[in-house]
Amino acid sequence: MGKVLIYGTTVASYRAATNFARSGHKVIFLNRGAFLVNKPTQMQQQHPRDIVNGYVKNMLVAVANMTGNIEIYHNSELLGLDGGPGNFKVKFRHKYPTVNVFKCIGCDLCVEKCNAEFKPIPGSIGIYTIPDPEGCVDVCPAKAIQIPKEEEREEKVDVVILSPEYDSQEIDEKYGGNLKNVIHFAKFASLFSGKGVDKRFLKREDGKAPKSIGFFNPAGFEGYLGSYEEHVIIFREAVLMKEMDPNLDVHIFLKEVRLYGHNQLFLFDKAKEKGINVHLIDDIEVKEDGDGVSVNGIHLDLFAVLPGQKIPDDWKDIAHKAGIELENGFAKTRPFTFETTKDGIFAIGEFVKPLGSAESIYHGTAIVPQAEKYLKPPELPQMPEMKFKQEDFNPKVGVFICECAAKGFDIDVDADYVIKKDYLCLHPEEIVKEIKEKGINRVVFGACSPSLRGAMLEMTANKAGVHSSYIENVQLREYASRVGADSKKANAMLRAAIAKARKDVFVEVPTVNTIKNVAIIGGDLAALIAADYLVEKVPLVYIITPEFDEPILATGVKENTLNMSDEELKEWYNTLKDRVLKRAKWIKGEVESIEGSLGNFRISAAGTEIRSGVIIIATGGDVVGDGTHIVSRMNGENLHSALSALYAKRKGIEATYDLMKSYSLLDLYPPNAKKGEGEPLAYVKPRDINKKIATLLGMELDKEGFFFFAEEPLHRVERAGIQFMLFEEPFGGVFVAGLAHRPMSIEEEMEEAGFAAQSAMYLMRDITSPAGKYVSVTNPRKCAGCGICVDACVTGARYVDEEDHIAKVRPAQCVGCGACANVCPSGAAIIKAYSPTGVFEMLKEVVK
């Protein structure tokens, strides 16, 4: 088991900590903020309603609780760093917050007795700040209150990962920062935060409802950086405003439209269609104008600026302390890795380049196999095997009431046992004892939300031998006592849960035996990189391709964008290829057929039958056109960057998406091509084989022929797809990397290949259905094989068996959403935990 130190508060660092911990390594996580939950990541600073941040943080907390592998320090500051890989000594300063969020149970005693200040935070217990912690330590039953002393510590770790975040920015005066009615985008977004996007809440500071709004992001203007994500956010918000009120006059001001590839352009089209004015400008002038502002001569009642990103001053200091080099203000990394100029120190996230949430998650995943070369083998905690009684013919319902949740309620329900305790979550052993002694076989908890302590209570009942199928949770606290409900409501909720518990049936959560091999289709650079990560760790890696791409072609551009000579690049490439092909099995030829699903694919290629648990698609692309690198701006065209290329293509001119890299570092040093001096274009063309593979796997290609991946085609916004917020299973065992996905730089090939490889690694185990007790099943007696459930299933977990004409479930892919059960007219598709029998019982009780 290795030990990793992660420094910084970014989507990438949160995800990296999560991934190292669940891979079986220890993590020291130095959060730079005051609390785990209130140090915003860069995107959250700009867009408080963004959901990605919340998910990565909640996931970190969940994995920290589950594995016990993460130690978190807050308000941390890096002081110094010595040693090398396997032997780093990291000195840092940190300060305890007054309340340990991992221990706090949200009982409110500190509010009542010590005047603690409380701030609610979505998805968590909230933040308590205690004015006088010394005097309050004994008040807390959970012992969560701590003295906020500052401390210097030294930790010995094997690997250091740096991922410092951008500073939050104010609006520059040039863009009207000092003017009335020029508003920070974060503030604008929070007008609707928590309350919903509604006309009633669109108000200026003076209380007036604006009739015209403008949005602006300075990316591309002097010193300002940005990724596509800011533009996605601006377009989304603008469209939302227009949908909320079609009479609103909405303007967008940008240097260029940074919507790239796939479905992002959909937003641009939608904005145009809704009548939003998009101004592409080279200069901006913001002036006071009567009761509003004028932007380049256009009067606006309200001007919202997403202030953009700038390289923070303290990065130099961090680099200095860590002894690493910077390049253009960002951490300098070696080609094809996140490793900085110093062995064993890695840089991820916005410390490397401006990037969006999706790429941050790639970083936080792809880092694992890279760092593992310095780490001792991981150790995963062995879960004790639990034996559950499956059939309980005589339900014995035990109701456990937590007094903290049922404060002020007169609980009067009819069950076999009603047991009241002060703080259920603090006395798990007593719950176990009661269940065992009394022979309780169905448990109802009247406590708090499953997203708070409810999940832990369920585990406690599991320990006592009660299967999750027989456990019901009633949120007496969040749904009743904290919202001013009366005993009547509390009792109705409890009675409903008791009625359901009596009808609960055992749900066996299926485990799928998977084949522990990986098949990589294609000969892109991403194929070799992914194989390189995997060959040592999985029994067999197949690479199915007639040939491998030449190194230059494999980098996705005709011009080598790395600081390497062509000879160096060739040498590196050949070494990599030799190393991979020594261990991996190369199937020379094209894929002929693919059958099966996650955990059990059967592929035939070049006359060989292959079985694998996971497929990685890395078919690469071809670079065509006369140019040496891909140009971002058309000569004589008013549209910029990718847009121009795409629009040009629509008109039949060969052009393309921009190189993803050109919107980041090149903001600081724009190449000539970007200035629009008519250089010839180069273009990445997807390969024809994509069509065949997509058909075989039932996947979708975009208009150009690239694979959709992680960006759900229906979601239409290329940012962190929802799949990222769950773990690997929803991808259905198929990952796409490299030029098969979109035109990209060589570094991005490395990131995607790393993400695919590491995700495949997590799937190299027997997979218990991620749906848990909510797993979908079919009653074959009732199923008419109509296939409505197949259309409803979003993960492809359902299919109609040709043999018996009955819908079947692939449990490894089922996420338990219940859409199949909803649409099934026969009641043949069911989620047993929400069977009509149980729900009808609940409804009867709840309406009383």
Partner: protein, 148 residues
Amino acid sequence: MSEEKFDPVIVGFFCNWCTSAAADLAGTARLHYPASIKPIRVMCSSTVDPVYLIRALQEGADATILGGCHPGDCHYITGNYKARRRVAIVKTVLKSLGFDDTRVLLEWISGSEGPKFARVMNEYTDYIKQRGPSDFKYLDSLGGEEVE
């Protein structure tokens, strides 16, 4: 039943990831809303079979709310779109037969919209109070005002 005394029963099916989370947030933020809301946590708005909504009304609920994630934000990607179709079917059937279709409410409330959750619950309860008790529960019974 006189109007001020009428205490409606509203069954809420709230998806686990958004509306239930918003209800949790309303709870942690101590935002009060009427006790007439009886929440049932489901995994996704698409878990809720339309028959459940009808059944809730039949069992005696004065109204039902189905709460899901905002379009595009569904944890299961498209669950809420499917739920919207089902609600459209239920509401159309009710309206077509001359029932009060406003007794089925579809709302998008995200996990961070605790205040919106409380607001919707308040507004809807007020609305249902104005409408008065539902007579749907008396369908196929001897009770209610309509039967002589």
